[in-house]
Amino acid sequence: MGVKLLLEHAHIEGIRFYDAYRKNGGYRSVEKALKMTPEEIVEEVKKSGLRGRGGAGFPTGMKWGFLAKPEGVPRHLVCNADESEPGTFKDRYLMEFLPHLLIEGLIVSSFALGSHHTYIYIRGEYVWVAEILEQAIAEAKLNGWLGKNILGTGFDCEIYVHRGAGAYICGEETALIESLEGKRGNPRIKPPFPAIQGVWMRPTVVNNVETLAAVVPIINMGGAEYAKIGIGKSTGTKLLSACGNINKPGIYEIDMTISVEEFIYSDEYCGGIPKGKKLKACIPGGSSVPILPANLLLKTAKGETRIMSYEGLADGGFTTGSMMGSGGFEVFDEDQCVVRHTMTLARFYNHESCGQCSPCREGTGWMYKILKNIEYGKGKISDIDLLWDIQRKIEGNTICPLGDAAAWPVAAAIRHFRDEFEWHVLNPAESQERNYGLAHYADPIHVPVAI
């Protein structure tokens, strides 16, 4: 049984409400943190080695350290709850069942960053979650954890819930800031970075829900103690939202020391693949990260066991590895079609592109149309190379990472599943009736032995 820091009390009846939460040790970290100086809290977070849980995995302490502190200009903390990545639903669970954990983390982080007006930007589709948060904020305020002069320390903090209108792009931090300001959610061109000029041109930190919630155990147990959990630079625990062809889909908290194989097959976590089917492929971190075939997922290209950690999943770079991403763990069994799946993702990114810069606006739609042709048996062999060329020209040439996020799944699918694409093109009639199946995607990879 792994360590549980965030979901420790998730099973308790009524933990959603203030009384039960407080009875189980809630808001201890606020009491502790408000006695420290803001610099000490930032130092603790730096010591903990906490990395952003939203996808990029940027060290949180370092991000906080970048925040500009000009005299007389207010600073803001914004919580990014615009969780729209297909396959990721960990933040929703956290906010729905443990809203006070997020609020606790927000108060501590606001104090550390000197933010008196803190925002939760929540995606528009999470209507009921926004209501839960509003209620939790009201409860916290009633009990003196928010508002003016918190715990008599003279620190004022207000938390506002801002609902988005349902755009994936608003999960990108600068687009989120634009949207929060009431403008069209177009990503800004960086520099200036939000740490210098963010919301209303004031220094801003944007953090993921899980990152801010993880600040609570860091303060409670100390940064150094938190850093002892996990492997290497992957410290602490991570929430994974497992879905797809597994026996027990849901949210799991792992301490990043277990192997991918254990995560999929052990009864404590996903519980294996239903109906005795075989594993074909998996997206380990939300739809944007590269898809991996079964053989590369369980073992790295060097033949070592792949560990569920930031470094473990990224082992081998994009050629034979993937990314931890936002933790949306999608499992595909032998009956799934990679081409169809890639097409679905391409359609999603085409729909969600903001239309600001040309490679992403035009390229995502083009990729979707080609993939649709291949999927429905109208493709050509040259289309596969064309897709590769398009994704190459989108990746890295756009304003925000949505272009990369649209390009990576297509690139990885072609890189690892080219046979399946070719089979679709060469057998148009057959491909409409059956799937390519498991093929050789679970065969062990030949590892050259060092002489």
């Binding site: 239309g355 600001q356 810069c357 040309s358 020209k393």
Partner: protein
């Protein structure tokens, strides 16, 4: 006030000293010629413009003297400021040329290519761009995106199908007219320039959106289908206007004024904004004081037939590659025909290859 610090920046092996805060694009424009990246969305006079079209991508191979690491991705030169000692690769980088080719292909993907009936043809930035940086063929095999026609007023014609979403007209309305009635609706590849519920644009300076539009998406209704721009002759003129400086360019044929636009500099950018009164209503020669023919780039199709006051771009190839280009073949040493001592009249009948007794190339 202390003097602004100067930064040394190298673009394609050519070094130039520019004031701090200059963007890479503007530094390259100071050098001029081939090393200037194309810009479809950046507009010097519009503060927030740039960074969207991605045609001006360049490679920064050395960040600065202090931090010589190269930048990991290609950067938009119009929004990246120079650092001291920065080294930039534009036409000398294969990565840039490849990426730019990709961007041009993306821009043309859904463009209708109706140049033969488009009023912008001949002065269209996208035409120039695709001619200079694009490939001759598209690989796109699908139907192009189309839009419903929309009426945005009596003077400005909107062709949304031609739009490349550079946002220039949005920023013009924001920053020049101070009252924006149009914007970008929707998102992704179906995002469109439009007004809220089809209102018309009426504003004293809104006509300037026609000039800033790099393509034929916004055109002048008073000039629509009247003439091709290369048949009209541009002359600079002014008048006594109460609202603007009225430094305009008249596009004339004979004594007839077909069109009035603002004057543009060599980067195709408007020098001074003009008002709607000057642009749409003063179409008689007697309204204007004519200053003389305009300077037009000799590369432009508009300058055909009247090469007055043309300016030539500097030739920089020797500086970019660091030496004079190698002469592949000197015709005078290869063939006898051009030798002074050979009398051409002595060669009988039509010349055959044997008549041109070639000398050994090594001699």
């Amino acid at each position: 006030m202390s003097e602004q610090p100067k930064f040394k920046v190298t673009v394609d092996n050519i070094q130039i000293e520019v004031p701090a805060g200059t963007t890479i694009l503007n530094a390259a424009r100071m050098i001029g010629g081939d090393v200037t990246p194309p810009a479809m969305c950046y507009y010097t006079n519009l503060k927030e413009s740039g960074g969207k079209c991605r045609t001006c991508l360049v490679e920064v191979s050395k960040g600065s003297d202090k931090d010589p690491r190269p930048m990991p991705k290609l950067v938009a030169s119009c929004r990246t400021t120079v650092m001291d000692g920065m080294e930039v690769k534009n036409i000398t980088s294969d990565k840039v040329i490849d990426a730019r080719k990709g961007v041009v292909e993306f821009l043309l993907l859904n463009h209708p290519l109706d140049c033969p009936v488009c009023d912008q043809a001949g002065e269209c930035d996208l035409q120039d761009l695709s001619y200079q940086h694009g490939s001759e063929k598209t690989r796109y095999e699908f139907d192009r995106r189309t839009f419903e026609k929309e009426d945005i007023g009596p003077f400005i014609q909107l062709h949304m199908t031609r739009c490349i979403l550079c946002y220039r007209c949005v920023f013009t309305a924001d920053e020049v007219t101070g009252c924006r009635q149009h914007g970008v609706l929707d998102r992704g590849d179906h995002s469109a320039i439009s007004t809220y519920l089809g209102k018309s644009l009426d504003n004293e300076f809104i006509g300037n959106v026609i000039d800033v539009c790099p393509v034929g998406a916004l055109t002048d209704k008073t000039f629509r289908f009247k003439n091709r721009v290369w048949f009209t002759k541009p002359v600079d003129a002014h008048r006594d206007c109460p609202t603007c400086t009225s430094k305009v360019r008249l596009w004339m044929r004979g004594d007839e004024v077909f069109r009035v636009t603002a004057r543009k500099n060599k980067f195709g950018e408007v020098e001074e904004w003009i008002c709607n009164e000057c642009r749409f209503h003063k179409k008689e020669v007697k309204d204007w004081v004519i200053e003389g023919p305009s300077k037009i780039s000799r590369m432009s199709v508009i300058s055909q037939g009247h090469y007055v006051n043309t300016h030539k771009a500097p030739v920089l190839i020797d500086k970019v590659i660091g030496k004079q280009p190698k002469l592949l073949m000197n015709i005078h040493t290869v063939s006898d025909v051009n030798r002074r001592e050979v009398d051409l009249s002595k060669i009988e009948g039509p010349a055959h290859s044997e008549d041109f007794k070639t000398t050994d190339l090594n001699n």
